[in-house]
């Protein structure tokens, strides 16, 4: 399997290297920008920590988003070439379809280390040389790990979706969207008609991602690079 | 041997190949000891199934025109003058047979052919 694994890695790299470059640049740059901004807003006085945290908190929402984008785009580039050529080459190879998918999964996860290492490097660079207000510490490692986990989750999900034909991917996404949008309209209407209190789909989705036990919880919680 | 083999002819391809070699031997294009192209070479040059060439060479060996030396290829054998003569005669008759058959389609008889032959070759035909 070794030659196949190496080759798949090579293919994945070839199909996604520009994407990885762009993501790496953003991942290194974004922490610099947000930390510097927070430090500047924070100032030097007694209330510095509070202001810094508040400022950082307001931009921290970008990171889970970035992690999700990373995971999704890497997953899409994994299947892109096969979709374009109708999967004929892949189907002609002497590996089972499961093996092929696993090889691809592995290759995509490995190249994703590029933006992940970039964000970790970015976080470390942003906080290593600066003096933080008293009582605050930087957590670049935890930050990087959270990013990795979030990206991997989205990667795995989109990978699974994209592994079907374009048709099945669209169908699944379509059904999901319909249910979500439909629910968002139907639920308030039912609530107002019957005076009951139902849970809204947006709420369900939001909670699912951020607090229900399970891997997606990583999207909730603290994305603060600097904290008490 | 670059003659084109005619897949449309009623003669099987292996027979066409064998005949070509026989004619070449009869005309002394191939002399005793000359090597024939390998099966691999000939099948790709003529773009025919290698088994066709194998069969042709087998038939030639059976008829004593060539011999296969294990692992070293196929070589022309010394063929007696009478055998060569016989082969030439056989080819001549084949050509004549074809000619007469074609002529018959147009209703041209053997006598007319004979006259035409005499005229073409400038040789007086014997009655």
């Amino acid at each position: 399997m070794r030659s196949e694994m190496t080759q798949m890695l090579r293919l994945q790299w070839q199909s996604s290297r520009w994407l990885l470059l762009v993501l790496a640049v953003i991942c290194i740059g974004l922490p610099q920008a947000s930390v510097r901004l927070a430090l500047w807003v924070g100032g030097d006085d007694v209330l510095a920590s509070g202001r810094l945290l508040a400022q950082l908190g307001s931009t921290s929402g970008l990171y889970p988003f970035l992690a999700a984008i990373t995971g999704a785009l890497v997953a899409l580039t994994a299947w892109n070439w096969d979709h374009r050529t109708g999967h004929v080459y892949a189907l002609s190879l002497p590996v089972s379809r499961t093996q092929y998918a696993l090889l691809k999964l592995w290759a995509g996860a490995v190249v994703m280390l590029v933006p992940v290492l970039a964000i970790w490097a970015g976080a470390w660079i942003a906080t290593a040389m600066t003096t933080l207000p008293s009582g605050l510490r930087a957590y670049p490692f935890a930050f990087g790990a959270r990013f990795l986990l979030a990206a991997l989750l989205v990667y795995a999900t989109v990978f699974a979706l994209a592994s079907g034909t374009i048709r099945t991917t669209l169908i699944v996404t379509g059904v999901f969207c319909v249910l979500f949008i439909g629910g968002s309209i139907a639920v308030p209407w039912i609530e107002s008609q019957f005076g009951v209190d139902l849970i809204s789909p947006t709420q369900v989705l939001g909670e699912a991602f951020t607090s229900w036990p399970g891997p997606f919880r990583v999207f909730g919680g603290s994305w603060l690079l600097i904290d008490v | 041997m670059h003659d084109e083999i005619d897949p449309r002819s009623p003669v099987p391809l292996y027979e066409q190949i064998a005949a070509r070699v026989r004619v070449a031997v009869a005309a002394e294009e191939y002399r005793a000891g000359d090597a024939l192209p390998s099966v691999r070479q000939l099948s790709s040059t003529l773009r025919v199934n290698p088994s066709t060439v194998v069969q042709a060479y087998r038939d030639l060996e059976r008829d004593g025109f060539v011999e296969t030396r294990h692992g070293a290829g196929t070589y022309v054998r010394a063929v007696a003058a009478e055998v060569r003569e016989e082969e030439r005669i056989r080819r001549a008759r084949e050509l004549v047979r074809k000619l007469l058959a074609e002529a018959a389609r147009f209703g041209i008889g053997a006598a007319e052919i004979g006259r035409a032959l005499a005229e073409e070759t400038g040789v007086a035909s014997h009655e």
Binding site: Q7, S92 | P7, T45, L46, R47
Partner: protein, 298 residues
């Protein structure tokens, strides 16, 4: 030893009009089997079903003894496939494509691959998507051959190629076959080209097998008879009549199967003389078979 390809009762349906119905074929090991049929007959679909790329509705398929789709990867490791259209990723260079194929096929012959590449004049740094039709055709054959397969399944490998390229590709193929005794299953609607090479012929028309015979039997059995007049006959002929008609010069012409020379008598008694008995080439046989829609089996 099992056959190279065994198919029994294959059936497949797509949409309302296209189907493969009860397709059976047998490709003996070491043979060169020509899979003929007009465009649209279903040859490419049959091949895709054989290779497990499309799921069939019914029937059995075995490739080199492996049942499909159960033992598909094992079979594919021993089979070289040339598709109708290039299947390699267009963004890869020729060098990348070779490397990729080599990584997945463990019997890859790198030395021979390089030899063929030079012979075919394929530039290493050209992207596959930018290759000309001739170069693509050569690359696909190169990939299939350098794998050193026991069975080659070729779907119109020379379609659209100019004569020089066609010659190069077929020469390399036959060279390999001479050396290894590999089996070849080659589909084409270019009958002339296959005529020289094939030992077996299978004809597909409108999704059904119309004939499957050794090539000599197919050709020798079928003759065109040119007659002087239209026969007025009472009894059943001793041969099978595939078609009757008039040729371009208004001569009564019959195409028959199972002819032997003494059968001239039949026409004599029917008031017509046989002017000529003509052997048909494979293309004419093919056309007659399709026209008569008759089932011919050996």
């Amino acid at each position: 030893m099992s056959e190279a390809i065994e198919v029994r009762g294959l059936s497949y349906r797509a949409g309302r009009s296209f189907e493969l119905r009860d397709v059976s074929l047998t490709v003996p090991r070491g043979s060169i089997y020509g899979f003929l049929g007009p465009n649209g007959a279903g040859k490419t679909t049959t091949i895709r079903v054989l290779l497990g790329m499309t799921r069939r509705d019914g029937g059995d398929v075995r490739l080199l003894g492996h049942s499909i789709p159960g033992e598909l990867p094992g079979a594919l490791a021993r089979i070289g496939y040339v598709p109708e259209r290039p299947h390699v990723y267009p963004s890869l260079t020729v060098a990348d494509a070779l490397r990729c194929h080599a990584a997945f096929h463990h019997r890859w012959d790198g030395v021979w691959a390089e030899q063929l590449r030079r012979q075919f004049e394929l530039p290493l740094d050209r992207r596959v998507g930018r290759l000309s039709k001739g170069e693509s055709g050569k690359l696909l054959m190169l990939l299939a051959l350098a794998q050193r397969p026991e069975l080659l399944i070729l779907d119109e490998p020379t379609d659209g190629l100019d004569p020089m390229v066609r010659r190069d590709v077929l020469t390399a193929l036959l060279d390999y076959v001479s050396e290894t005794g590999a089996t070849v299953f080659i589909s084409s609607h270019l009958v002339h080209e296959l005529e020289r090479m094939c030992s077996w012929v299978g004809v597909l028309d409108h999704g059904r097998m119309v004939a499957e015979l050794p090539i000599d039997v197919l050709k020798s059995g079928i003759k065109k008879i040119r007659l002087t007049d239209t026969p007025v006959n009472g009894h059943h002929p001793p041969f099978e009549v595939l078609s009757r008609g008039r040729d371009a010069f208004e001569t009564e012409t019959w195409v028959v199967r199972g002819w032997s020379d003494p059968m001239v008598q039949y026409f004599d008694t029917a008031g017509a003389t046989v002017r000529e008995v003509v052997d048909l080439d494979l293309e004419e046989v093919f056309v007659e078979l399709l026209r008569s829609g008759r089932e011919v089996t050996s």
